[in-house]
């Protein structure tokens, strides 16, 4: 099963699930906002997105990942709008039979997301001003 959503406001976690009988590995990644962008203190990031295209690209990438790796489920939420330092901008959950395919799928999904999904960061400084982030994907 696939869930791939762009959301505004704090990301709701995906619910705990103890009823799966064949998935021995649940891997969760949360990407969080750090207090510095290119060495400068920020109060948060404003994630801008190309609305409908970002959703489509995210869904396509989720589907591609599930097809490429032997995983059973991929759930993803990417937050847009202002995200304060410390909060999660991204959560990805992958369920698989064994852990290795889950790790590989997670690494692939995040790397591709950072290359192809049209979302950008604006640094928000303590005085409220904002500029496009200079950070490269990494």
């Amino acid at each position: 099963m696939i869930i791939a959503e762009i959301v505004e406001g704090p990301i709701s976690p995906f619910p705990e699930n103890n009823s799966r009988r064949n998935q021995g590995a649940e891997l969760v990644f949360k990407g969080r906002v750090r207090s510095r962008e290119n060495g400068k203190l920020i109060q948060g990031l404003d994630y801008e997105h190309y609305a409908s295209m970002a959703s489509t690209e995210l869904e396509n990438l989720a589907r591609k990942t599930v097809n490429k790796y032997p995983i059973s489920d991929l759930f993803c939420r990417h937050r847009v709008g202002e995200v304060p330092v410390g909060a999660a901008s991204l959560i990805v959950v992958i369920w698989s039979k064994h852990r290795r395919e889950g790790f590989d799928a997670m690494a692939f999904f995040i790397a591709e997301l950072k290359q192809h999904v049209p979302i950008w960061k604006w640094a928000i400084f303590p005085d409220g001003s904002r500029i496009p982030s200079e950070s490269k994907h990494c």
């Binding site: 990407g31 994630y47 801008e48 997105h49 190309y50 409908s52 295209m53 970002a54 489509t56 990417h78 901008s89 991204l90 995040i110 997301l113 950072k114 290359q115 192809h116 999904v117 049209p118 979302i119 950008w120 960061k121 604006w122 500029i131 496009p132 982030s133 950070s135 490269k136 994907h137």
Partner: protein, 80 residues
């Protein structure tokens, strides 16, 4: 013909707009449109590479435009 250009990140910052409508002569392609946009930015976009999205799909080579098309020049993306 009228083409809608969606502006994000550095382009939005350079032009101060979310969206611009550009009038182009028939036969113009996405590469011509990119030159228009770079011209409007008066050098502020120099050194920034774009990938092009036409009607919300990435394209790899310039494509001839049609009235009503929506184009975005995508600066390096930064999701995650």
């Amino acid at each position: 013909m009228k083409i809608t250009v969606k502006c994000f990140s550095h382009i939005k910052y350079a032009l101060g707009k979310n969206k611009i409508i550009i009038n182009l002569e028939a036969g113009a392609d996405t590469a011509d449109l990119e030159q228009e946009i770079r011209g409007l930015a008066e050098g502020k976009l120099d050194g920034i590479k774009f990938v092009t999205a036409l009607n919300q799909h990435y394209i790899k080579i310039p494509v001839e435009l049609q009235e009503g098309d929506e184009v975005a020049f995508i600066p390096p993306v930064q999701g995650g």
